[in-house]
């Protein structure tokens, strides 16, 4: 590998492939089943004769393990080892309470890893896991989120925002406001549920180079896994190799390693040099791999008679786990969405004996904008204003929180174009005005926003090959979004060659360092770095390089300056139908218009935006992780009881975008698109259901019972 990376400030590329509908470069492998996912690696990849690891999880929410009787499990056919907190290899660093498993007898939540079984087959491992007898000293636990219990003030909220904000005099403004909305909005616990469960293949080798842990992991960040695990395992980061060639979705839950990766590493160390495969079951995912906390939002909006906001207050009550803090930044988008001279936000947590919450698609924005945008609909109603007009009247000239200029705030154009394309005009002003057959029909809308990030810590390598071809390498991960495809397009345009002249390598810590596929930052961060490397390569080696010419580069403009507010925006429109006798809710139409910078590939981008809309629809109507506080765990812990939208629910769903290029943000002109589709969508559906029925639902999901007077 080249020595130190070149620092190069990327300049806007001349687009040729970018903006066109290049087919997914890995489509054939995927549809023919040749794409190997995390536990589909064998001898060909250095994982010959892998054992299967099965997790044993706690059946109490709090207490101490007093004994683990492994006799029956160990005697079971095919079982090689049973590990518990007394026998598992020791970790060098146990500071992370979620990850430091099998090190002590403490049980912090129901579903925590308390033992694991290693066996020759999955069947043996699973059965033996059920034979492990764990005894506990049970302690009283707390697992119920209430506003009263949410008293803990975190030092910051995810990832590093101020916990509270207070500008002007909210109370005085509310006292003088002509119109006030003062309501509580709730969102439930939600689980990411990517199609591929979290899974890892691991082998721990000792050879001439010392010890090496080699992982194939279903992750959104190979370098993130290595940098987290290495110090815990007493290894240098370059002793941990992580590959993620194909990943079946993550939605944030694979953004950071969870306990099962540590379990796989400990298991591999114990049976070294035999490899180990560990796949988390769907039920175990509900305790072990992150989720979105439930939120309670106390919203107060004050406005003058014309609907101009004078005060916005958003107080959030949510929960985290005692064993590891995660504070969802629910009120953070409220700080920038609309203009109001007086604004106050806060976040308070109930610290409970529950599984550890984490990132789920648009953490913060999803629940926070839901609360804010339903409140805005209520304000429009109170002011007798069209909901679109209300948003237009409250456009801020600059970022209200920082006073920084907007780089490219085009929310009004999204609103206008969305209204026109959806057919918003002519909508009855009154709710409960349209009955078609046995269905009340209504329409609703909401704004969407998501910050634009370019992460630091990226490097890319460009190497000239024979015959005018180029190898382009970066340790990015394609989690199913199409990253391989769009990075190929970006590399080709930056090198000014065809996409078929680019051999893109991703998904391996042996490649240059890359940031997480998260925060809607992947394409912009990795793409800018690839452009920097390609441009530096051309500067150094010209247009006709010899084979082997190589440049490793970083984008010198990372991180971007903080004197400009970079955000994407959107407007979501929904039609809802509510059955007048059964209360059933259906959404026949859902439409979003987005301003996301230049779209690199219309096919994959459309999938991301529509996928976000569908996930927002799913959250609006169905998704709820029901925690039974008596036991402490989520009892709707499979896809038969945790409902996500099925085909019949997804009717006419479409997304469009404004033609634009944000050259100040990235050399491709692109911002991020992974998360904004879920933002505001549930609010649009709830607002449409209100318009249909006159019933205002302030908690998700908006199920049939809300419309039957029985709740």
């Amino acid at each position: 590998m080249t020595a130190d990376p070149v620092q190069h400030t990327p300049t806007p590329i001349r687009v040729r492939s970018v903006g066109t509908r290049l087919e997914r470069v890995d489509g054939l492998e995927k549809v023919t089943g040749r794409a190997g996912y995390a536990v589909e690696h064998g001898a060909d990849d250095g994982f010959d004769g892998a054992l299967v690891a099965w997790l044993v999880t706690s059946t109490v929410a709090r207490g101490r393990v007093t004994s683990v009787d492994t006799a029956a499990a160990a005697a079971h056919d095919g079982v090689v080892a049973v590990l518990d907190h007394t026998s598992a290899p020791r970790l060098a660093d146990t500071d992370d309470g979620e990850l430091a498993i099998l090190q002590d007898p403490q049980v912090h939540f129901r579903g925590q890893v308390v033992a694991l079984v290693l066996a020759e087959t999955a069947e043996s491992a699973r059965e033996a896991a059920s034979l492990v007898e764990v005894s506990y000293d049970v302690e009283e636990h707390e697992a119920e989120l209430t506003e009263e219990a949410a008293t803990y003030r975190p030092d910051s909220v995810n990832p590093a925002f101020d916990t509270d904000s207070d500008t002007g005099d909210v109370d005085a403004a509310l006292a003088e406001a002509a119109v006030v909305v003062d309501e509580e909005y709730r969102t439930p616990h939600e689980h990411n549920n990517p199609m591929e469960p979290h899974a890892t293949t691991a082998v721990w080798r000792s050879d001439g180079d010392g010890e090496v842990l080699d992982l194939v992991d279903s992750t959104q960040a190979v370098h993130g896994v290595a940098s987290t695990l290495a110090p815990m395992l007493g290894l240098e980061q370059d002793q941990v190799r992580v590959r993620a060639p194909y990943v079946g979705g993550g939605f944030g839950s694979k953004g950071q390693p969870h306990a099962h990766v540590v379990a796989a590493a400990l298991a591999a160390r114990h049976v070294s040099p035999r490899p180990v495969r560990l796949a988390v079951t769907r039920q175990q995912m509900f305790a072990l791999t992150g989720y979105r906390t439930a939120t309670i939002s106390r919203m107060r909006l004050g406005a003058d008679a014309d609907g101009r906001l004078t005060a916005i207050e958003h107080r959030v009550f949510e929960q985290s786990s005692k064993v590891k803090e995660f504070a969802e930044q629910t009120a953070v988008p409220t700080r920038m969405l609309y203009a109001a001279p007086n604004r106050r936000t806060s976040h308070r947590l109930a610290m409970l004996d529950v599984a550890v919450p984490s990132w789920m698609r648009a953490p913060g924005e999803m629940p926070g904008v839901f609360a804010h945008e339903v409140a805005m609909d209520e304000l429009a109603q109170a002011c007798g204003l069209d909901p679109v007009e209300l948003r237009l009247r409250n456009e801020p000239d600059v970022d209200p929180e920082t006073g920084n200029p907007w780089n490219n705030r085009r929310l009004p154009e999204c609103l206008h174009r969305g209204a026109e394309r959806f057919g918003w005009a002519g909508r009855p002003a009154e709710a409960r005005a349209t009955l078609e057959g046995d269905w009340w029909v209504g329409t609703g809308m909401a704004a969407a926003t998501y910050p634009a990030y370019r992460q630091g810590g990226n490097a890319a390598r460009v190497t000239a090959l024979d015959g005018g071809r180029y190898a382009v390498a970066i340790g990015a991960v394609d989690i199913g979004t199409g990253a391989r495809t769009v990075l190929t397009q970006i590399a080709a345009d930056a090198l000014e060659v065809g996409t078929d002249a680019v051999d893109l390598e991703v998904g391996d810590t042996r490649l240059p360092s890359a940031s997480v596929a998260g925060g809607s930052s992947g394409t912009a961060s990795w793409g800018s770095t690839i452009v920097a490397a390609a441009q530096a390569f051309r500067e150094r080696h010209g247009d006709d390089p010899g084979a082997g010419a190589e440049v490793l580069a970083e984008a010198a403009d990372d991180p971007l300056g903080t004197d400009v507010a970079f955000h994407s925006f959107g407007a979501v429109f929904a039609e809802a139908r509510v059955h007048r006798r059964t209360g059933e809710v259906r959404v026949p139409r859902l439409f979003g218009v987005y301003s996301v910078g230049r779209v690199v590939n219309p096919v994959t981008a459309h999938s991301q935006l529509v996928g976000g809309l569908v996930m927002g629809l799913s959250a609006a109507l169905f998704e709820e992780s029901w925690r039974d506080a008596r036991f402490g765990h989520v009892v709707t812990q499979d896809l038969a009881s945790y409902h996500v939208a099925a085909h019949a629910d997804v009717r006419d769903v479409d997304a469009e975008w404004l033609e634009e290029s944000d050259d100040a943000f990235s050399p491709m002109g692109a911002r991020g698109i992974g998360e904004i589709g879920i933002v505001g969508t549930a609010a649009a559906v709830v607002n449409a259901a209100h318009h249909a029925t006159g019933v205002r639902v302030r908690s998700l999901p908006v199920t049939a019972d809300h419309f039957l007077g029985g709740r």
Binding site: T59, D77, G78, T121, E123, S124, R126, E127, S130, D438, H579, R580, R581, T582, G583, E584, V585, R586, L621, F622, W626, D628, R630, F631, H633, V635, T636, Q637, D638, A640, S641, H643, A645, A646, H647, A648, D649, P701, T703, A704, D705, L708, G709, G710, R711
Partner: protein, 333 residues
């Protein structure tokens, strides 16, 4: 691996003998429910007797003592039964109930007999780390006071508030079907109303069948009233979900007046709930919304609800009104 012996039975008698002679044996049909239970640890049989290849495949009209019946082999897949021309033409409630259930893939795999004998989807029944009287008698009921959205409102007991999940069973209850079984004592005919039971103090028993008693066929009377019949399934998700409540109904009108009505409900009890009190209230009366609401209220006078199930009363009322008015409109059309 937990070893279980697998036997592909060559005759019904052999299958019955094998299962009846072993308390830890189970029949295996389509496996769409039992295989889940094997994975979850809910069922731990040591002998699986595959009845899929037994000659229980046909759907045929027969003359019974009380008129023509449709005899449906217990092994007929749900998808085949829903597509059968006689079922579609003369027993529309049956076809619609089947098509409202599960997914295309599951309907293709699931059998008629197995559908009737599927077990509750109560989340606690399926979670072996929580108490459940149905799974482990005497351990307690976690659903009472827990996740209750799908709980029963009729006929529940202190020991169990689970609901039966089958759509097909609700339709068959409305149609006065008879289940034909083979046991160690030979063939038996069980009216649908007597097949499933209320939990009382033995919720571990879903049905009145003995261990080892095999469903071989279902006989459905081909009555005139069944020609005008339908099924309404209410659920949050538009497909691939169990009923919050469901209504199977058949209606014969004389002008505006009800000559005959059949009404059965799903999602409300440990068994398909034949609403005989409501049927009585409706029969001979003019069919209108107020009358239907009063009839449903009469049937639900014993209903017990809580915060999580209270919605089922208005939902069931609305669904029953909708179903019967739709059938009436069909008749006059």
């Amino acid at each position: 691996m937990r070893a279980a012996e697998y036997v592909r039975a060559s005759s019904a008698e052999e299958a019955v003998g094998l299962v009846a002679g072993n308390p830890d044996a189970a029949f295996l049909g389509g496996g769409t429910n039992l295989v889940d239970h094997l994975k979850l640890g809910v069922a731990r049989p040591d002998l699986l007797v595959d009845v899929r290849r037994l000659p229980f495949g046909g759907v045929e009209q027969q003359d019974g003592p009380d008129g023509p019946v449709l005899r449906i082999g217990a092994g007929v897949p749900n998808s085949d039964l829903a597509a059968d021309p006689v079922v579609r033409g003369r027993l529309p409630v049956l076809a619609r109930a089947l098509l409202a259930g599960a997914s295309g893939q599951i309907r293709h795999q699931a059998t008629t007999g197995g559908n009737l004998l599927q077990r509750t989807r109560c989340v606690y029944f399926q979670d072996v780390t929580t108490p459940c009287n149905k799974r482990e008698p005497g351990s307690g009921c976690s659903a009472a006071g827990g996740y209750g959205r799908y709980n029963a409102i009729l006929g529940a007991s202190e020991t169990c508030v689970a609901t039966h999940p089958s759509d097909l069973a609700v339709a068959l209850a409305a149609l006065d079907a008879v289940v034909v079984t083979l046991g160690t004592d030979g063939e038996r005919r069980v009216p649908m109303a007597d097949l499933h039971r209320l939990p009382e103090d033995a919720p571990e028993r879903d049905t009145t069948l003995a261990h080892g008693e095999l469903v071989t066929a279902v006989e459905v009377p081909l009555t005139d009233v069944a020609r005008r019949s339908t099924y309404t399934k209410v659920r949050d998700r538009a497909s691939y979900a169990f009923a919050l409540v469901s209504v199977a109904a058949a209606l014969d009108l004389d002008g505006d007046t009800v000559r005959e009505v059949r009404l059965a409900w799903g999602g409300v009890a440990h068994k398909p709930w034949r609403a005989r009190r409501a049927e009585e209230a409706l029969t001979g009366a003019v069919l209108d919304e107020a009358g239907i609401e009063a009839a449903v209220a009469a049937e639900l006078s014993d209903a017990v609800t809580d915060d999580q199930t209270a919605y089922k009363v208005p939902m069931l009322t609305g669904a029953t009104v909708q179903t019967l008015l739709d059938l009436a409109a069909e008749e006059t059309a």
